[in-house]
Amino acid sequence: MRATDAPAAVERPLSWVNAEVVELYEQSPKVRSLFLDVPSWPGHRAGQHLDLRLTDEAGYKAQRSYSIASAPRADRLELLVQRLDDGEASPYLTTELRPGDFFEIRGPIGGHFVWTSSMSGPLFLIAGGSGVAPLMAMLRHRAAAGSTIPAILLFSSRTLSDIIYREELDRLAAADSGLQIVHTLTGGSTSDWSGETGRIDRDMLAAAGFHPSEQPRIFVCGPASLIEDVARHLVVLGHEPRMVKTERFGPTGV
């Protein structure tokens, strides 16, 4: 086992460090990518997250967790932020924030929802909306590592314009016969749409995914309802519960 694959034996505190916003990119009407320069970033494994802390002029702070979308060795950290209109941090991050701004982060955090290219078995990723962030880190890591482990991403978005990373996913799949991307749209599609439509259900998981006998490692990230349904369907289809790892992504209430 390589050192980078070992579970983080962290007994030193994770300190807050400054992150500089170097670029912003509107992925969809509600989702923005933040690209961060963090000189002291210790590196991360695909699937991990970080805590982000904003401080206002009066010293009041707001703290949130975000999954990391960038590959472990990427030059810049990328986070996906979905705007919640009644939120506290996300409206700021998706509208007010500009390149050159700073905030604090600490991480990386989490050792369960993690995939490295040295792991065996095919990789089955299931995403809802901006829940694609940690799964994108896995696909980018897989590509960067030149891994030939077969991988499938089943990605649920609302409409065509809500699909995050569509071009990059197309590019990755076109260059790699081991990677399959299946999109489904839940909020209506046009007549020329060639992907799936509707919420991810049991049939879609059976048709798009690996057979349980192939023992895929399965990562599910999205809103709580998607996770709950998908995980239940996967177990009914015969996947071992221990092979199904879930991570909730999205608002923690209003």
Binding site: S15, R53, L54, K61, Q63, H112, E228, A231, G253
Partner: protein
């Protein structure tokens, strides 16, 4: 720690005065009840459910669902704090606190200074015994007067509201008495061994 940089143009929400002393540092109040799980929700039904106390592999006590329901029940109104930074105030639970559980098992004193809670689905979490006693923790089976639903840990979960909520393990099935504070599931994956929200003990080393 160095001074935090000001996030230009950001204005944080001020906690309501009534809530200010109830919300630990780095937390914000949420009205809904987010569901966080590491894997599929296990299926349990009351017919096959039982709760055990165990030490060194030997069962000390074991209750069926009906027997567990016949133990003295307690209602609590508590605030809960998730390590992912949401807090939920005034949640109402009903269940069996750990003290009467030990009494029913004939234990005058807990035999070890630590416990490891085991759950359906393989999840575990570790706690000092002291944090489970004196009404500070229960095996909860009702939330807001109705049977605890599976996504929130039903049929029964540990409730230790003074620690971060991952310690309140869902689908609890066994309390193992341990001589040492052996890390559980999240505690082995970079999260804090104890998890006091008021000292912001989120991760190892905090």
């Amino acid at each position: 720690m160095s001074e935090s940089p000001i996030s230009r143009g950001f204005r944080a929400r001020r906690p309501a005065n009534s809530e200010a002393d109830r919300v630990p540092p780095g937390q914000h109040v949420t009205a809904d009840f987010p569901v966080l799980s590491a894997g599929p929700t296990p299926k349990s039904n009351p017919e096959s459910w039982h709760f055990t106390l165990r030490r060194n592999g030997a069962i000390i006590a074991k209750w069926s669902w009906a027997e567990f329901e016949a133990l003295p029940q307690t209602n609590v109104n508590v605030d809960i704090h998730c390590v992912t930074t949401w807090s939920k105030l005034d949640t109402n639970w009903r269940g069996v606190t750990i003290d009467p559980l030990f009494v029913a098992a004939g234990l005058a004193e807990p035999p070890t200074p630590f416990a490891l809670i085991h759950c359906d689905g393989g999840y575990t979490t570790n706690l000092p015994m002291e944090d489970l006693l004196h009404g500070k923790a229960m095996i909860a089976t009702r939330y807001e007067n109705v049977a605890l639903v599976p996504v929130h840990g039903g049929p029964a979960r540990l409730l230790v509201p003074h620690l971060y909520f991952w310690k309140s393990a869902k689908w609890a099935r066994e309390l193992e008495f341990t001589d040492t504070d052996d890390p559980g599931f999240w505690e082995s994956l970079g999260y804090n061994k104890y998890g006091d929200p008021w000292r912001e003990q989120r991760y190892a080393g905090d």
